[in-house]
Amino acid sequence: MPPSPVPLFGRRSFLAGALGVSGGALAAEGPLQVPVWSREQGRGVASPGYGVPSSFERLARKPRTVPAFPGAASTSTPHQHLHGTITPNGLHFERHHGGVPAIDPGQHRLVVHGLVARPLILTMDDLVRFPSVSRLHFLECSGNTPAWQTTNPAWTVQDTHGLLSCAEWTGVELATLLDEVGVKPEASWLLAEGADAAAMTRSLPLSALDGAILAYAQNGEALRPEQGYPLRLFLPGLEGNLSIKWLRRIKLGDRPFQTREETSKYTDLMPDGTARQFTFTMEAKSVVTTPSGGHQLKEPGAYEISGLAWSGRGRITGVEVSVDGGASWRPAVLQEPVLSRCLTRFRLPWRWDGGPALIQSRATDETGYRQPTREALVAARGTNSIYHYNGVYGWQVAAGGSVRHVA
């Protein structure tokens, strides 16, 4: 069942509501009235103390399909309704393998041991006393965009690209902590482990830790429970699963530990039956978020095409947009500042003539890598690799203004 089409602004938008202001409706609407909210006092301060969105906004994360086990599932960020690049904390995508633990920060501990000179047990109080950093980075699940085999025309960008979010992460650089324990020269890998019911574990070569943070805050407040409260590993530009949430232990070793999440899962099966392992980097990718699947354009005229671009290898240097299915491309404007391994908002003014239009975007990063077509990806990797799909993605605007994904 395709979702009912939504207008471009909000779920209960002015366009759809009684105060419609679209060109055609304007004349019929009559002179402006002074609404009730201008003629009485609004509610007082601190109601509630921790503010929540307007009651006219109905945004929510949701799973693509109903999960058999809600603790081993994911929900996606509704990018079709968001603006700019920062994901509100309550809408950051989720991917858990053993549910969301309710951790008392006073009892949480981080153990750092193995091939180190000074194995340590640290409390959260200890950790916040170390020098800290704050950095803006995207986080993307490598299972984002399930387009290797089939796509569903009813999918919204939340379904197709919603395992992607962006936040300012604050914490201690992993390098600071590794100095504290004194990594032995023979160490070359580490194991990171969560305190959740999955005791999630991944191995990382020490060479892949550039910019790694032990994060305790997200967009200015303590991590949300779904994001690893009270402590997570954060690895900029790498597949989300590596950024172990609810981090309880780091063990230094001299080889990979070969956990289930780096053998059975998060490996990419090739047509010859071999599987690529330790495929960490999230390669350059982009998607148009407005207009996108499920949106409804009211009438021909002026619109802004807008979307998100990102690369795990550094900065985005350009995004091109096509409205004719790739026959011609125009450069979009990138919103400054363009940050490394961070979402970049791109925009392009567009006049919809009322006819069919196939809208696509493709990103290029500072290494010169350009987001590939689906055909190029499938030619190189077949259709069974599950992870790391970063192909060009398109939205078809139909003559009536409805927007759907087309393969």
């Binding site: 153990v111 090739m270 039956g273």
Partner: protein, 183 residues
């Protein structure tokens, strides 16, 4: 906080007296945290490597594993490790290069030690870390037997588990990306 500072100073003093300053200082430059002794972290230090490092004492047979599986796993994974609501654990050998690959413990997993490590830390899903180490050896043996990898009379322990030859042991290759040529 005050009490902790005192005890840290005491540890440091003891180390200085008995072991000399250079080798014994248990804290780093910021002097935060406390030493992680093997005893203190034993309950969390549960990872197992392919070479067997980390495997605990204990042992389990295929027959014992059949009982554990029926009682603790079959409800979700199916009677014989397939057909349940949760991941299929059995079969699929020879399918990896086909259009419909079936990835299971038997067809895909490169190391038997990973099975022990994962079941001990995360299964059964409704009561993780509730099996004894011998039960984990047993249920691992049973799953490997269902996949035709160990015989019906197999008994696994810390010495034998790392020696189990997994069919897809050579099936993994390094990341080959970037593998796209710009058009």
């Amino acid at each position: 906080m005050w009490r902790e500072t005192v005890s840290r100073a005491a540890i440091l003093a003891v180390c200085l007296i008995f072991a000399g300053p250079a080798s014994a200082d248990p804290l780093g430059p910021h002097r935060l945290g406390r030493p992680a002794t093997p005893d203190a972290i034993a309950a969390w230090d549960i990872d197992v490597r392919p070479d067997g490092a980390g495997l605990p004492p204990g042992h389990g047979s295929v027959a014992e594993g059949r009982t554990v599986f029926a009682a603790r796993c079959a409800a979700c994974h199916g009677e014989a490790g397939q057909g349940g609501a949760a991941d299929r654990l059995v079969g699929g050998q020879g399918t990896l290069a086909s259009a419909k690959p079936v990835r299971t413990v038997g067809s895909f997993w490169p190391y038997a030690t990973t099975l022990f490590d994962y079941v001990r830390r995360a299964m059964p899903f409704d009561a993780p870390q509730s099996l004894s180490d011998s039960e984990v050896y047993a249920v691992s043996a049973y799953l490997l037997h269902l996949n035709g990898i160990v015989p019906a009379d197999a008994v696994l322990d810390a010495a034998r588990l790392p020696a189990v030859a997994m069919p897809n042991r050579a099936g993994f290759v390094p990341d080959a990306r970037p593998d796209m040529t710009t058009p």
